[in-house]
Amino acid sequence: MSNETIAETAAGNKVLDIEAIRNDFPILNRLVKGHPLVYLDNAATSQKPAAVIDALVYYYTQLNANVHRGIHTLAEEATAAFEATRDALRQFINAAHREEIIYTKGTTEGINLVAYTWGRKNLQEGDEVIISGMEHHSNIVPWQIVCEEKKAVLKVIPVNEKGELILEVYDQLLSERTKLVSVVHVSNAMGTINPVKTIIDKAHAKGALVLIDGAQSSMHLDIDVQELDCDFFALSAHKMFGPTGAGALYGKKHILEAMPVFNGGGEMIKEVTFEKTTYNELPYKFEAGTPNIADFVAFKPAIEYINTLGKENIRKHEDELLSYATRKVTELEGVRIIGEAAEKASVLSFVIDGVHPQDIGILLDNKGIAVRTGHHCAEPLMNRFCIPGTIRASFAVYNTLEEIDKLADGLKKAIRLLR
């Protein structure tokens, strides 16, 4: 990355140089339908800085070898680069041990891993799992599957009109029967930041474990799994400037050690005979098969990129974008914001009277503006608000106030055409 992404003001305050940051992301230079790309779909996936793209090329041109085996130089160097990301991730979320970081394909696989291994082993008939009404399908369906199989009961913390969890009902749902609580840290559809520390403490008081879906939060909030005291935390590289197909599941060491294995194959074994196979140690017992080496190698510069900018600086800029966008969009006639929680991160979801979100999405795309329209893989949440979907603009550190002006202008023109 360029060294000028952080400038110092006369008063000595650190501020981000957004233009310099934009230069680190090659894709932001492209045109869409003849217009400069305005990328406001960051909650779906973030763009990648040159450092990440370069690391992918470097890996395939200089390092490519299978990891954890072979004594030749390439194998050693590839393994070192692959494992260095684990250390960076440990530090990034402040896990106590590097072996608490399990490599996955992403958040979805992390949640499935817990459901299929911990869930199948520990859930009994009549046990309860609590999720929330604002979960992504990936934090609903795995629990439905395992609960059905084990005859356990899935309970849901409801969402209020502002898009916040109703914690009084959570208190009532919690009981000695609760075995696991799995909730999203930041809602992908509304941007709500959930009070996960409170949720975790209350669950622990009843003896239940807690999984936090950190897909959206990892890029925006400081994550300290020891301070949160969560038992599991799942994240995806691609939502934090890293490559697709790479992610991590954090789990407390003693819990992971007691869990059965997930996939069987190479890497995850210690010894194999036809009579009995013994399993490898953490984290490898959960990492069967040749992993997605290149993408994990390129995940590290993404983490470093966030660290260099500083999450506090990132958040400050994103908060400014969010409040400016909220103001501009609210000014338009007939707009209703979906999700007005007191604590929000970087997502603006809304509906417009008499206009279908899809029509807006198509017309904005025609101006080079990328937003997401639809149910955002959170159909139960859309049903809660009695809407088929929303228009969602989600911001990252490289977005600018000018881009939000373009969004507002594009919306204004689209509404005029469509009404």
């Binding site: 279908h356 088929p388 055409l417």
Partner: protein
């Protein structure tokens, strides 16, 4: 009635009309206008069995068979989709099942609407055309049964 015009002729007409537009804005304005003018479908037809359900908007499609010709009616809750439907109906409606089944619908590419065939917009043209051809096939087999 456009029955005397072949599907290819109608397609050609649409391609000619679109060639007059200089910009994408104009094309979309035209499609939105078509959408707004599409005759609404009777509420009685707006039931699940008539849905061509996709990821984002809902499309209802019904077909009737009169004197060897298939007559389509459709509606959507999204205006641009309605405009696209309106063109499909203009092209395919009031033709025989065989003519409909043989239509290559190349005009969609020629007017630059290929992106609406993308998988992510499965409720767009692709699913619509498929459903319209299903109806044609059903009416065709009906014909032979009788």
């Amino acid at each position: 009635m456009a029955a005397h015009k072949s599907i290819e002729e109608i397609e050609e007409e649409i391609v000619d009309e679109f060639s007059l537009f200089d910009s994408w804005d104009d094309k979309y304005e035209y499609i939105i206008d078509l959408g707004k003018k599409l005759q609404p479908l009777d509420d009685a037809f707006k039931k699940d069995e008539n849905k061509v359900k996709g990821c984002q908007s809902t499309v209802w499609l019904v077909a009737d068979y009169q004197d060897g010709h298939v007559i389509y009616k459709a509606e959507s809750d999204a205006v641009i989709v309605k405009g696209l439907i309106s063109m499909l109906i203009r092209v395919l409606s009031n033709h025989t099942p065989d003519e409909i089944l043989n239509a290559d619908m190349d005009f969609i590419n020629k007017i630059g609407m290929t992106s609406h065939l993308a998988q992510t917009r499965s409720n767009g043209l692709r699913a619509m055309v498929k459903q319209m051809k299903h109806y044609a096939l059903a009416f065709k087999s009906l014909k032979f049964d009788a």
